[in-house]
Subunit: 471 residues, 2 copies
């Protein structure tokens, strides 16, 4: 994606499809099923080996129970859906996208019932992104989160005194931004002997192995915050990838437990660390050294304020902040869950979307373009993807609080640019655990002593923004 | 090789080995044999399709007739051999390398007799690098070449007036060299939308597809010529790769006919074009613009002379010039052919090597380090590889002369930096032909009207150096 010459895209797509076919054939070989059956009752396996068998079984079942007809139609519908979504969004007309979404809902239901007819279809879909989680559990945590956030956001909007974002305004050479962010990524713990950091249009973190983690970021001349928080976000993903358990190299237990857990690592570094007060003490002098044009008003205090402004009119998910973001997610979760269980009709989506925007975020989209059509995910049939963003935010907060308990000097360490104790803690508790546990709750119990508790995240936000916004 | 983080080498090796295993299993699937049998007598196939069947058959036979035991031992012996060669070269002691070479000779004979017991083992080995060529034909062209070169080289050494190499002396910023060479590569015809040009320790050209050709070069501060000729050499390889026939994308007929033919394309651009008089008219002003420190003596004439100095004491193959290089190759060919057919014993190699050096090149190695141990190839069991270098040089000359006949303004075009007519001619005659023909002679007949004729190359050298060295 970063280095490839531009005309190579078609050939690369064909190479990837060919490799995917090879992997599919090997993964669905009946011999794998036979071996899994033999291992099913093996009482001698340690916990990591047992998890290898369990995760291989899970993938084997999902793949072998999905007929080629459905897999093929999905692949086609991904590109048809993307085209239809582009056209609809351009025209701000949901009706142009509705037929594709209808087919995705039907396809999702059919595929999920073939994989496991005994469970709600949405739960089976969710497994692809956040394995072991259920819609019943999501209802529980998301309604608690929603009921706490809506009044907090209203308070911030109606009674809060926003901090001054102006101290970070200006124009900043993107090469200087990139050099500063690479330095910060390395100080956070990114190992350049086991990875690269490049610039691309769409930031991402990937790579072929623990020893070869590729991360990219982007920089805008007129926005220092986006490049900085983006780079730290990707560093969080990259530290997870570089921290994976080499003792189980190449086995599914060494892979990330779920997208939500992966996102917890990016958000932990981006929000819990970089948007916290101690980090501003580390960052402010670095920014001043790289960008002499920054205002003399820049101090750890003003920097902390400027990095933590809440959007009072948050219409677009990707531009949201840590307070408004979960409400965008909960809205999408409620709608997509309704689509899959049949309680929401595709045709009603724009109206319900706008209603929930008004109720949760206090603003109403002017058209489908800035409303129901803003995200690409549903065009690719990704049902169950959105929840992982906010599960990640809650995991991140709970994990960070647990780390802070184990590391009493954490705040001072961060302020001093000493990040290795936190990284080492995460290596042991989260990264090396990989897919050892069956779901996010189990991982939270092992790492923090309790299952996911939205109240921890709510308490963190209430405390932080009550002080920042002088509520 | 260029972008990978350094700690990723082991994981990448494993990934490549895994892929090689997948390719092996598919390539040796008995189903392929059955399909090949069905197609063997198909009279309906056009020449390209027939070549696809023929080349697939050739690869299938070679692979299926090589037992896994031999393939495995080869892979092991490659790394053992490399270690032994390193130790022996360091110690300047051939005896430390001899046992590995003994095993390689035995392994080569065994493998070749399993593939085709009816042909001389060396011919079967040669097929891997220069398919369709035979040792009988090599004896013919190489003895003719040797008998012409030895007296020419003696004349140059004893009676010649060498041109002044000093006009290119100095120190040159490697970044400026790299920028100039990229500009030249693009002007020669390298398409950056279908490839990249990077810097690496070892120059090479590779890539995954016609639309994704990766070429690398290296630059030395104190040697302008090496970076320049190296970059043009790799550009020649890259133009072949970018010119492959997309109508037969992914099929063996679209691959290079042989290593010698591939080398003909790099040497055509490096030697026939860049070391020729007209190119110096193009290059001299470019060099002067990039490197103001170059002597005021630099002109197309003095540049041409400086680029074409012949080594009067040429001990090391990789440092040889176009006159001495083939003698290094012929020496190696005669020895390795003798090893494989049993007429040369491993133990006699250093003595025979030194004798031939004296006879052909007029200088005698002081020890095995600058003699028989100088090249890595035999440590990897590559028997039949060396001849391709000089076949490439002869092909290049013959192809270039044929192009010049078809393109009457070629000299002036080159002097004016107009390289597209030559590139287009090569695209049609060589690149798009791929593996359509069965061997280099057949390709030469199709492209130039006659089989390989060493006299063309000899005539070119005699004429060029008689004038340059005032013989």
């Amino acid at each position: 994606m970063v280095m490839m010459p531009k005309n190579a895209a078609d050939a690369r797509a064909l190479q990837k499809a060919t490799l995917a076919g090879v992997v599919y054939d090997k993964a669905t070989d009946p011999e794998v099923g036979t071996l899994l059956d033999q291992l099913a009752d093996d009482q001698e396996l340690g916990p990591f080996d047992a998890a290898v068998v369990r995760e291989t079984r899970r993938a084997y079942e999902r793949t072998t129970k999905t007929p080629k007809r459905i897999a093929k139609r999905r692949a086609e519908l991904e590109s048809e859906g993307y085209q239809a979504w582009m056209v609809a969004r351009e025209a701000k007309d949901f009706a142009k996208f509705a037929p594709v979404l209808e087919e995705w809902v039907a396809l999702t239901r059919e595929a999920c019932s073939l994989i496991d007819p005994s469970r709600p279809a949405y739960d089976v879909a969710l497994d692809e992104f956040e394995k072991g989680f259920t819609s019943a559990r999501l209802d529980e945590v998301f309604s608690q989160l929603r009921d706490g956030l809506v009044p907090l956001l209203r308070d911030i909007r109606e009674r809060g005194t926003p901090p001054d974002a102006g101290v970070l305004a200006g124009r900043f050479d993107t090469r200087v931004q990139a050099a500063l962010c690479e330095k910060i990524a390395v100080e956070l713990g990114f190992n350049l002997d086991c990875g690269r950091l490049d610039v691309s249009v769409h930031p991402f973190t990937g790579g072929a192995h623990v020893t070869d983690v590729r991360m990219t970021t982007r920089f805008k001349e007129d926005d220092l915050t986006e490049g900085l928080t983006g780079a730290i976000h990707e560093t969080g993903h990259a530290l997870y990838e570089q921290g994976r358990n080499l003792e189980y190299d190449g086995l599914p237990v060494n892979e990330a437990l779920s997208m939500g857990v992966h996102e917890s690592q990016s958000l932990l570094w981006e929000r819990m660390v970089a948007l916290g007060r101690p980090f501003s003490r580390y960052l402010a002098p670095k920014l001043a050294a790289s960008f002499p044009q920054l205002s003399a008003q820049l101090s750890p205090d003003t920097l902390y304020g400027a990095l933590n402004v809440v959007k009072t009119r948050s219409m677009i998910r990707v531009e949201a902040d840590e307070v408004t973001y979960p409400l965008h997610i909960i809205l999408r979760y409620e709608l997509e869950r309704g689509l899959v269980d049949g309680s929401v009709a595709v045709v009603d989506l724009p109206r319900l979307w706008n209603q929930k925007m008004t109720d949760y975020l206090g603003c109403t989209p002017a058209d489908d373009g800035e409303g129901v059509l803003q995200d690409v995910h549903w065009s690719a049939g990704a049902m169950g993807y959105f929840p992982t963003y906010s599960l990640g935010a809650m995991y991140a907060c709970q994990i960070y609080k647990a780390a802070a308990k184990d590391l009493p000097t954490l705040d001072d360490d961060i302020a001093a640019g000493k990040f290795s104790p936190l990284k080492a803690w995460l290596n042991v508790k989260i990264h090396k655990a990989g897919s050892l546990h069956q779901n996010g709750d189990e991982l939270m119990i092992a790492a923090t002593g309790a299952p996911l508790d939205p109240e921890i995240f709510l308490g963190y936000l209430r405390e932080k923004y009550t002080e920042l916004y002088k509520l």
